[in-house]
Symmetry: D2
Subunit: 254 residues, 4 copies
């Protein structure tokens, strides 16, 4: 077997290095959020970028025990109390295109629309208009827009104000705001959701599209650990009951 190559971390008897930086120096001087940026981008963030990523990770950590990720983690803990890793992993597995995962799809949309737009000399707003045309023609949903509870997600406003105050807002935010406005004018009111805001900001910080899902996972794992801890501390094993309505073939008599 050939050695695995990696540019992320290395260690020997004298120390550990992340992206070439001494881990003990990072422990003294950096925050966990700094390390997340270093791991993914190979550089430390500016203070403004750090604040913004802190806000993002906080924004996706948890909003209630009934979300599929939280509920799957609690169910696994309910049947398999001995394994904390298993419960957290079960929660992570519920994260996908339909729950927490729209950020990466939205980042791909932003990256492709802006790149194609740049080739054709379009502004971000014009690129957004073209995107709305295309998704309407294809009868597809637009990732990053629409919400089942909020008419305006309070987290989006906070994130965009911080991005502007920190001088980080770029074409990604312009594009997503134009997308929301165009969709409202031509389809219906589809308020930007947290996935859309996360995608715009991560794009403007230079992250590649898969980071949209990775950052959601990192933030949500913080919440999942707390959900599992509460399940184990407050509840009995197997306490979760569901009402199930069977509508299959009539049970034969035994």
């Amino acid at each position: 077997m050939e050695p695995w190559r990696t540019a992320i971390a290395t260690s020997d008897a004298t120390g550990i290095w992340i992206r070439g930086r001494d881990l003990t120096s990072l422990m003294k001087d950096a925050t966990f959020t700094d390390l997340i940026v270093l791991l993914h981008l190979g550089r430390l963030p500016s203070p403004g970028e750090r604040r913004l990523l802190d806000a993002l990770l906080i924004g996706v950590a948890d909003h209630g025990a009934g979300a599929p990720s939280c509920a799957a983690a609690r169910l696994a803990a309910s049947g398999n109390r001995a394994s904390l890793s298993a419960a957290v992993a079960a929660g992570v597995l519920a994260i996908g295109d339909d729950h927490g995962g729209a950020g990466s799809n939205c980042m791909e949309l932003i990256a492709q629309a802006l790149e194609a737009g740049k080739r054709d000399g379009l502004t971000p707003a014009a690129a957004a208009m073209r995107t709305v045309d295309a998704t309407m023609a294809a009868k597809r949903r637009i990732p990053g827009l629409g919400h089942r509870v909020h008419t305006t997600d309070p987290r989006v406003k906070v994130l965009f104000e911080m991005a502007r105050a920190e001088g980080i807002a770029g074409d990604g935010i312009l594009f997503m705001e134009a997308l929301e406005a165009q969709a409202a004018k031509r389809i219906k009111t589809l308020p930007m959701n947290i996935d859309g805001a996360l995608a715009a900001i991560l794009h403007d910080m230079g992250f590649p599209p898969p980071a949209g899902r990775f950052m959601f996972i990192i933030g949500r794992v913080a919440g999942l650990t707390a959900e599992v801890a509460e399940e184990l501390a407050r509840e009995k094993p197997m306490r979760i009951k569901f009402d199930v309505h069977y509508d299959g073939p009539a049970p034969e008599s035994t």
Copy 2:
């Protein structure tokens, strides 16, 4: 089905609250590490606690692609490139008693030994002496001590110096240092490892034992996401080959 009860997070059309605090205020004012403490302890950390937990999470995030958690995540990504959640979860599943999980066992040891010691009027050092007696008699290994690579883990020194500088060092650190000294005197040199240091510090910050594993998971998930991102960006599907030596019954001729 009865409603699930929870004291962690709640949300409605007007907002989201974590442990009663408004999420958008937290996004503006707190760090991700603050939120982790709030989720688990129901209060925000002091600046010194925040620095220490940042250092802890950084300390366990990654030290090389060959650790079981990182390698399992890369293998899953190699066969199942489409699912980022699956790859991260596979890495989490390799975390257990033998890899990254000793912290929670060590926290239980600390909590039990200090509590029993307190009932008998023992100092932390005397409680540690009694613990060494008991583990020697039972021929068990002592969690938190011993390391396969380092004679002294450089991360331990940094963490304990920070804990002292921030005024957070308490009985947990005293106990673990005495445990290390007693073991060296009576068994053999068994340098404290990162699990032991993590356990001592989390104990002194007031976390319950399962947090020893949860904090390792939170920190390591940051590393796992970067390992998976690199696997997908640099490598082809199914590129991982193992040399396997079959030593079972002779293959019958076909």
Copy 3:
């Protein structure tokens, strides 16, 4: 890295062998259940053993969508529809000491009690009496006994009758039946559950204790795949809603 050693499977350009047997011959002549025995015990089962293991695997495959394993799989599918593997894995992760996992604990109890009994010249029934004494003294629960729904689990009777008809019933079944009888006399009516019956039969077929969990997992994965298939075919993404009752600190005003 040293080559991994294994005695299970090997393959080259000319063929594949399981425990030394040619895979294509097995495909022609064996059943899937035969292969499960071959993989775990290195030999093919007798016709009676095959029938009994078929009955066991059928017995644990599924009994309703609300079991933690089935519900966790459906939740993961609800949020992450694209990854069938993730949903099945989430279901597997809910299997543990409290759900489907008691079989392996019960097999360890049987193996230890019978071995210690044999050293002291005890019959299986006498070993069971001693086990009830010990668990009563330790105030522990007895694995394999007790059920939340059934007063007598209909699956147990079928399995034990089959085991007797096929001449497979041995000390494991004698021990568990004596355990049930002794517990009824001295504690309370605790009908044997499917985990206890599975443990007795797998013990009598020569499986080691971890097989108690592995066989449950193999059987249940069949059910989990059907549950996930139905979730994806019949339901919309994110359709699962929970009533959550928040009882934490009062939400601060925003």
Copy 4:
């Protein structure tokens, strides 16, 4: 919360039913493979279908410890020995488009090509020709064809002969054979692999496309349980070492 609806399984204090059939009757009269068909198709298989599905599940169960699924399961077991569920789940998570998952993609290809062909009055062979045209034009790979080790996969021949002998071979097999022949003539020799054979047979038995992945998972879980059992029985914790070559930024001096 509304009750969950399901047509698969139901139970009460008197019994358990799968697709309306009494579970204890199934335990007496059916095989595990019968139950898999019943769970997924709502009917029991014919004897020939049972034999063929047995052969399929045997064919994908295991071919060596170095496959990503087997290796990920062993790695998880190496770090997290206490949780058998976690190790099996980690193995399942490595199953995806690139490993074991091509069957479902291939089943979608078969279903779409045959349906479109039928609308246009094409034979399966003509539909296969059109499929080769389309994939060549799109420069895509054809799922189900090509193999890294075998020039002809010995399992494919066995399966197709059994399907013909049992009278189950239908348009799916005709289509895949024509696809292989056309690809050989116009692209290069691309022998059908086990995913392609599995897809053809499951199509001809009436399974929907996702079954291509589910059946691989069911078969492979049998192998994964044996791999994990061997890891725990023969090997020490954390025994797996990888040679890792770091090629990132130069480590700074400490």
